[in-house]
Symmetry: C2
Subunit: 257 residues, 2 copies
């Protein structure tokens, strides 16, 4: 959506193509080299940052919409993407916007629009390698940036709440879900997965207990194989046990002790 | 909503009062005396069972709507109630209903209605003591029953999927969330909480490991107090550590190891 004509049509008639009252808000975590970041877009005219997002097409499965939006924004497909919360309580979510406000923001005169109505936000999060991502902006946004999770600015709307909830969920689920799959090579060293988990959790983890825990929870298995990384250094390799993991999750068996 | 006039108005004009395209579906778990059940309502004219639910008022916070619906159905207030998933992918959720179908179901002739449009379902679950609940039915339903979780029949719509996801979430979260608060007396014996957890998880738990785990996770504390329940039997009492628990949850710290 780039031309003014397309934007006009979206603002006026988008509800014929998309479900009104519901948006998808994506918290895209980026990990690389022991840094955990979040993708933010700069909204035009509002002098502020917010999360990328979009709407569900009338006949489109919701998870497909989430994948489409992620792909449109980042070019990425087939990554771990998960709904984590629906936001419908914050003051911002309870009110309608005015056309005047919209015009002021985007310099774009409209009378009435489905975009001004109360909209619940379905939060999805993804975890990607940000060094591999090429971000797309559009008519409503004019810049993007990966922000360190420890330095997130005050965001537009209720997006700080959305980010905090996503981070809390990511941390809660890191031992339940195959979260790190696309961030590590297929076979990785204990040091590599240890760094990833320490970075996501934002704290130090004793590496011996950590290895025991991962293996006992059935998340990874130790291979009978090593990687030569230097003289006298050839650590054992590990691999995610993706299938067993997903089966257990489907049955609600993971971590029920 | 009982009179035909009220129902007519709801079918025709309900979208002026409620947000269209979004329903709340409640999985109300009932626990009593080592049985775990789910509240189902029988839909009029459809010869089938489904979950209780409702809609969000235009200016109503979503969590308030969930509480209101629970209260309207069960008379209960202030129970542990939590959103757990939003359903927007199943074939039932992707299609619109026809007026003919509606008329056939309810013997009620209508032309067009916001109720026929595609509707995403926000799943909430609650856990209550079913011996204390008095269930309300309305125009659309004509019976209710508490069904054992092991004997749930084939449900209307995609409600079997909703129930399975709720049960899996309940089991995943039983060590993260203050789920049993309103099901046990303020001070309880190890046997009482052990029975509750075994019933919810649907499996046996070694009672010694269980006690250690609960205390080490900071969910309960052992009191310096006993309950006399018979000659030579006066077990120690335990209490939930509700405050520490909720603080940790807010910070996303529970169970991040």
């Amino acid at each position: 959506m780039d031309s003014l004509e397309e934007v006009n049509d979206f603002v006026k008639n988008g509800h014929q193509q998309y479900l009104p009252h519901i948006s998808l808000d994506s918290v895209i975590f980026g990990y690389h080299d022991q840094h955990l970041k979040i993708l933010l877009l700069k909204w035009k005219g509002m002098n502020g940052w917010g999360l990328p997002g979009g709407f569900i097409q009338r006949r489109e499965p919701m998870s497909q919409a989430a994948n489409r939006i992620l792909q449109e924004r980042t070019g990425l497909d087939q990554v771990f993407l998960q709904q984590f919360h629906i936001f419908g309580d914050s003051p911002y979510r309870l009110q309608e916007q005015s056309p005047q406000e919209f015009t002021k923001k985007y310099g774009h005169v409209v009378e009435d629009s489905w975009l001004f109505e109360r909209t619940l936000g379905i939060g999805y999060f993804a975890l990607v390698d940000y060094s591999k991502v090429s971000v797309q902006t559009d008519f409503f946004t004019d810049d993007h940036q990966w922000w360190d999770v420890l330095e997130i600015p005050t965001l537009l709307f209720d997006h700080n709440e959305v980010v905090q909830k996503a981070l809390a969920t990511l941390r809660l689920q890191i031992y339940h879900q195959p979260i790190g799959y696309n961030l590590l090579p297929e076979k990785f060293t204990l040091n590599e997965i240890h760094s990833l988990y320490e970075t996501i959790l934002g704290k130090e983890l004793d590496i011996r207990n950590f290895a025991k825990k991962l293996v006992s929870l059935g998340i990874v298995k130790k291979l009978d194989e090593r990687r030569a990384i230097g003289p006298h250094r050839s650590p054992y390799l590990y691999q995610f046990m993706k299938e067993a993991y997903e089966n257990a999750l489907k049955q609600g068996l993971v971590h029920t002790y």
